[in-house]
């Protein structure tokens, strides 16, 4: 049974207050907690390694899959391989997420390796949220890896959010796109205290007319450190755009390393990066509306990560 702590984690990472409608697979403390499949979506436990295969039939429309992972035991290391096989012309939403509640002295760690095989002309929206809490000495650690293969005309939108709570994270995302495929990644990160977050994107644009758009917005507070790496390889006539905006506060550090590699004369690649503290004029503007400096700062940060 799910206890109160686990319920809260489920709410934070997947906005689930009860069992979801449609297909789901809830993993708690390294074990399957509950699962539901539908006529179009099958979930099968892997036999050679921890994890699941999710099969979405071609043409499946307007269905969703929830696959939250929660950890409430200290000292637990959970490694999971989840593979998504999305059939041609499907149009689905996948909501993943990992919540850790660690009140013990040991580290709690979840490493999720998610691989997407997105069929021709399928559309997928993938939402993942990482959340950690705990007053113990142990750290909350998450290292999500996402691998995306887009067939011709496939479209994927990935939204990934990590708002504080995670002490150490290396987030790796790689993708390849066939002709006419499109990949959009939106990342939001807030780090506080001594947290350390690494984001590493590599996208190969292989097919004529495919595109990638990577947008990262982050706020680094306290003594936290963030590293943002992004490489877009344009191997054909394609369009790649990456944008990294970071607000730096207190004694934090932000390192942005954008990379654009054009291997074809028709590859059109753009990168925008900006790191800076909150502009003084933004604070002043909100103060002239009656907000204190601290309230103004909160509004600017919240809006930025909205």
């Amino acid at each position: 049974m799910i206890d109160a702590i686990e319920k809260k984690l489920l709410h934070e990472v997947a906005e689930l207050d009860s069992l979801p409608v449609g297909a789901y697979n809830i993993r708690a403390n390294g074990q399957l907690q509950s699962r539901n499949i539908t006529a179009n979506i099958d979930i099968v436990t892997k036999e050679d390694k921890p994890g699941i295969d999710i099969f979405i039939k071609p043409g499946t429309k307007n269905e969703s899959v929830h696959i939250p992972v929660i950890i409430s035991q200290t000292g637990l290391t959970d490694l999971v391989y989840n593979d998504f096989h999305i059939g041609e012309d499907a149009d689905v939403t996948i909501i993943a997420g990992c919540g850790i509640h660690n009140c013990g002295g040991g580290n709690a760690r979840h490493d999720g390796i998610h691989t997407f095989y997105v069929g021709k002309n399928a559309r997928i929206r993938y939402v993942e949220k990482h959340y950690g809490e705990g007053d113990g000495r142990g750290k909350q650690i998450m290292n999500p890896t996402t691998v995306i293969h887009l067939e011709e005309g496939a479209q994927m939108e990935m939204e990934t959010t990590q708002i504080a709570g995670i002490d150490d994270t290396i987030r790796k995302t790689s993708g390849d796109a066939a002709a006419g495929a499109s990949l959009v990644i939106r990342e939001k990160i807030l780090t506080v205290g001594d947290q350390h977050a690494v984001t590493d994107f590599v996208v190969d644009l292989n097919g004529e007319g495919c595109s990638a758009n990577v947008v990262s917005r982050s706020v680094a507070k306290g003594h936290s450190v963030q590293e943002f790496k992004s490489y877009i390889n344009g191997n054909c006539a394609c369009a790649g755009h990456s944008e990294c905006d970071a607000i730096i506060m207190d004694d934090a550090r932000v390192i942005a390393t954008p990379g654009l590699i054009a291997n074809n004369v028709d590859a059109s690649l753009i990168h925008e990066a900006a790191i800076g503290k909150i502009a003084g004029e933004q604070l002043i503007k909100l103060m002239t509306l009656g907000l204190t400096e601290q309230e103004a700062e909160e509004q600017i940060v919240n809006g930025f990560l909205e």
Binding site: I284, K285, M287, T288, L289, G290, L291, E293, I300
Partner: protein, 247 residues
């Protein structure tokens, strides 16, 4: 009523921007004009609390606000529309209007404020105040924020700049209406004759000093070079204003 007594302002590197400025704002519309670099915007910032004066005193309705913060002055009833509006990544027009109004503004309320400045709420409330908005759009939203605040003193720093297709008439109507609703004072920094034409009082600031201060009829003709030019323009605008004010 706003009162400045012998206000001076020097930058950190001891450059004097305002010398000895004394003025009162008690009429509905007070316009400040003068050559570029003369200290007009600095004066507005000193009133809003963005710059602390290095000498003199500022009173709002008799209360000494000289050493109050920007926030405290805002809460006492001073609004300030920037000459160059600030962009915010992530904050939307409805967020800014809500912050300005001090409460969550409904779509209807936002529509009221935005339509006053010639913008359709449906197209704008969910827009971020980022680089996707033009200078003119930002300028109108800046004015809408002051409308949403509805305070007793509203300062506008060159509100006409960037107001493209939207006519001056509407801008003037906004000021008229604001006065009716707040029963307060409006201080406008402007170079535009058409704005100066609606002022009750015109103050000319040059090299950090007030060089002229008086009723429009007295100041404007001299500014325009001759009374012949100014006279008919005033009448024409007065007629237009009367025609444009909604009952």
């Amino acid at each position: 009523m706003l009162e400045l007594k012998h206000v001076g302002f020097e930058t950190e590197d001891n450059k004097e921007i305002l010398h000895d400025v004394s003025l009162t704002v008690q009429e509905r519309f007070v316009a400040i004009t003068g050559p570029n670099g003369g200290g007009k915007s600095t004066l507005a910032k000193v009133i809003a609390g963005i710059f602390q004066p290095t000498s003199g005193q500022i009173l709002l309705d008799g209360v000494d606000i000289t050493h109050l913060s920007i926030t405290e002055r805002a809460n006492l009833g001073i609004s300030y529309a920037f000459q160059q509006p600030v962009r915010f990544k992530g904050l939307k027009v409805k967020d800014l209007l809500s912050l300005a109004a001090g409460r969550n503004t409904s779509v209807n309320e936002a529509c009221n404020f935005l339509s006053e400045v010639g913008l359709c709420a449906r197209d704008y409330i969910d827009r971020e105040l980022n680089a996707s908005l033009s200078g003119g759009e930002l300028k109108r939203i800046e004015i809408a924020m002051v409308l949403a605040r509805g305070t007793k003193l509203s300062i506008f720093d060159e509100p006409e700049a960037g107001i493209d297709l939207w006519s001056f008439q509407n801008l003037i109507r906004v000021f008229e209406k604001m006065c009716e609703q707040t029963r307060g004072n409006i201080l406008i920094i402007s170079h535009q004759e058409r704005i100066l034409n609606i002022a009750d009082t015109i103050i000319v600031v040059k090299d950090g000093d007030i060089v002229r201060n008086g009723p429009r009829a007295e100041i404007l003709p001299a500014l325009l070079g001759s009374a012949d030019v100014a006279g008919p323009a005033c009448d024409m605008l007065t007629d237009k204003m009367e025609g444009s004010v909604t009952p």
